[in-house]
Symmetry: C2
Subunit: 73 residues, 2 copies
DNA sequence: ACATTATGTAATATATTTCTTACATACATA
DNA sequence: TATGTATGTAAGAAATATATTACATAATGT
């Protein structure tokens, strides 16, 4: 397989949390249905989530997926 | 953790391939940088891809990610 | 000083995605 | 009939995402 450069994907979760009335990481994790560790890892860009998780996060903020995650290339 | 129902995510890859001049699965796999099996599995909804792969597929068609993948609910 | 809440780190286990390889089938066409 | 192309299935390995548990720290309020 042709090794393509890894896409850099960033998200605005941290910003959106605080826009949303300072929603805590634990509360977001709760709504999304994942553990707090997963939210922490996402905010820190430790890995790129599954598409399903990305959709859930967007839903939790009432946003489109493209408003939460973007890839810079 | 609260077991949330799995989101049903569907995509328009198959349609987009043929819109894009009948691009073959192999050609798409090539552009996206994955194997043909991955494209087959995606088209068949076998699993939901990583967000990175989703972005790559969208890019391959010159579309927004929301135009290729959608979640019902 | 103590308890609580929010965030963070880290190690290990489990689940899911993606790769690799091999083979099957249908279709076109020389 | 033989050959090439596009699609499909399947099994196991490898990579990556997510869960689980435990503990650390800073800030806040009593």
């Amino acid at each position: 397989m042709s090794k393509m450069p890894k896409l850099k994907i960033d998200n605005s979760i941290r910003a959106l949390r605080f826009e949303a009335g300072e929603m805590t990481q634990a509360e977001l994790a709760n709504r999304v249905g994942v553990t707090r560790q997963t939210i922490i890892a996402l905010e820190q860009g430790k890995y790129s989530p599954s598409l399903e998780l990305a959709f859930r996060v967007a839903q939790a903020f009432g946003k489109e997926i493209g408003d939460v995650f973007s890839c810079s290339v």
